[in-house]
Symmetry: C2
Subunit: 375 residues, 2 copies
């Protein structure tokens, strides 16, 4: 294994500890050493899904056992539909049955679902256990693993129940992406595009210049993508742990995106829904006069080249989407706030330094319904 790249996540508000995100090809093979160093514990509870378990559980258990780490694997059925309070209860109960105490650390191992759900188990088991995130999808590597967000879905919507719970460390091995289905690789790239859009125009250029290598899962290109995205997310999170200010930026594309994802019954992957959401929210921003003309067209071009969708599925009613945005956690005082950009790398900040721009439902509905105006 080459020496991993390290990104420090500082947490000035929640506490002074902070943690490191390690990115390195082949890092998975030295997981046991990393655990001893960054998260020593009496025993480890690996929370994962059955698909990831099938690929990696035997190897993982063998590695940890041979390093002397007592390890149990708790695997649930894979899929966003399982990211529920019921699965969270089952995993917690199984850990209690096997006698996991406060001296246990949780390893959330897999994509976004094991990451969020395993994180929420760690956040709430005996009021909190140490947590290590080992993401195995691109989306989880560059998005879900940094920021400390954990949680599960409820019938009313995504991530409506959860907690902030920072990991002791995040271990990312880009080689694990070699087994990731194409659609999931593309889905993860949508969040990378978002990072470029909100914080770093040059990064967005770089992504566009490297579409071919990225889609071919070239290890070097993917490593660079992961590192830059993790850096951007870590910088934003460090400035705003509790999500009251700049962190709202990360919601770009997500207000419409979440609505679209839920309305699709999760037939659309998260990144696919966010791709649609970014284009639509750029159009909303253009209509509201805060986003530079041409922003949505550029986003559509990059996302299309990455094989991502850029407009609402044809059978989606604009009204249904609007209705759904009102349930969003970002709805405050009865209005829905959008995180918009002025231009690439330049977030919109409203009067009095307010992050987030309230947009009237009618405007959103008009933009969403305005098929004729699309480029």
């Amino acid at each position: 294994m080459s020496t991993p790249h390290r990104v420090k996540v500082s947490l000035p508000e929640a506490n002074s500890r902070g943690y490191e995100v390690l990115v390195g090809s082949g890092l998975f093979a030295s997981l046991a050493t990393a655990l001893s160093r960054f998260c020593p514990a009496h025993r480890y509870a690996v929370v994962t899904d059955d698909r990831v378990a099938e690929l990696y559980a035997v190897r993982l258990s063998r590695m940890l056992h041979s390093a002397g780490h007592r390890t149990d694997v708790f695997a649930f059925t894979s899929g966003e539909a399982q990211k529920t309070r019921e699965t969270w209860s089952l995993v917690s109960d199984a850990m209690m049955e096997s006698g996991c105490g406060r001296d246990t650390a949780v390893i959330a191992f897999g994509g976004g679902v094991p990451g969020d759900l395993g994180g929420f188990v760690a956040a709430t088991y005996m009021r909190g256990l140490p947590l290590v995130q080992v993401p195995t999808t691109l989306l989880a590597m560059i998005d879900a693993s940094v920021g400390g967000k954990t949680g599960v879905d409820t019938p009313a919507g995504k991530n409506l129940v959860g907690a902030f719970h920072q990991p002791q460390c995040v271990l990312i091995d880009p080689e694990m992406l070699q087994t990731l289905p194409d659609a999931h690789l593309r889905s993860g790239m949508a969040e990378a595009v978002k990072h470029g859009a909100i914080a770093d125009a040059e990064y967005l250029d770089w992504i566009e210049d490297n579409v071919e290598s990225l889609l071919a899962a070239d290890p070097q290109a993917l490593s660079r993508l992961i590192m830059r995205s993790v850096e951007i997310k870590a910088e934003i999170v460090a400035s705003d742990v509790m999500e009251c200010g700049p962190r709202k930026l990360l919601n770009f594309g997500h207000t419409i995106g979440h609505a679209v994802e839920t309305l699709s019954g999760y037939a659309l992957l998260h990144g696919e829904a966010v791709a649609v959401g970014m284009v639509e929210e750029a159009r909303i921003g253009e209509r509201a006069g805060v986003t530079a003309a041409g922003t949505s067209a550029r986003l559509r071009r990059v996302l299309t080249r990455l094989g991502l969708p850029t407009s609402l599925p044809i059978d989606f009613g604009a009204d249904a989407v609007v209705q759904h945005t009102r349930l969003d956690k970002k709805a405050r005082a009865g209005r829905v706030e959008y995180s918009l950009i002025q231009d690439f790398g330049r977030p919109f900040i409203g009067p009095a330094g307010v992050w987030g721009h309230p947009v009237a439902d009618e405007t959103v509905a008009e933009v969403l319904a305005g098929v004729g105006s699309r480029g």
Copy 2:
């Protein structure tokens, strides 16, 4: 209303905010003002049980509405048996149905169950809402409302799932104790005795000297008891938010106490179980040579005068109790740690500054079974 007494709870570790515990006769009547000052929010979700709701909900809603606070009451069936993940889910879902967003604050209103469960709803609803604790039982006032512990029970034991979530403020009106059943008043006093035992021998003397006025629910005596207990707990919590050091002291009587409470099927009130637990743990400490001789006898005398039980129910097997302590959150590395005192007001601190004393199961079983040795 007289000016309330204020106890500041400082939180050096978790964050720099801290909060105030207000204790004042008649304080409930000025709840609306206190909310505006300490926890302004777009709307309020009152989480309570049906018994408390019956006594206070109409008055509470009227007060808040007339102050312009949008308020909804979410009441569940009363009783420890309802402190479950299922009730937590139902309350969260009901809040979602009524459209509560991140601009909502939760008021946990009632005894320990609404306090813990309402707190856990606040800790996890959309990853955390502001929380105000308004305890209505003596136990909740002096114990549950300070420290930020929230959570629910699972089939495996009490409080096994939860989170630390500090309130914006705690509002205590001792007049509310006038409607509290005697057994619950006595149960609360067990925790006050614990505060004296672990931290302030003079306070323990004062309690013993004032047993009659306390049992008669004399408002002045109760106010003084609440304030001193809140002060003691606040000092301990402030020094150790995450419960790694001195806060373990507060577990005195609780390792055996929790086991006894669970084994009784919650027929014993929490304070009753803790009363038994303190006497037994003092005996364990005496046997282990860390607790001064006569400590358990003195505790038994005070607790008996307060009308609290001081020995295991006759049909409880010592082995069953020991078995249950192994499930305790304080079990580490396979051994059960007890929080013991050397003498009243003098906690036991082990070698290398370790708080907590591991005791062999056999010793505990011998002490618990040793009926002949009881005074």
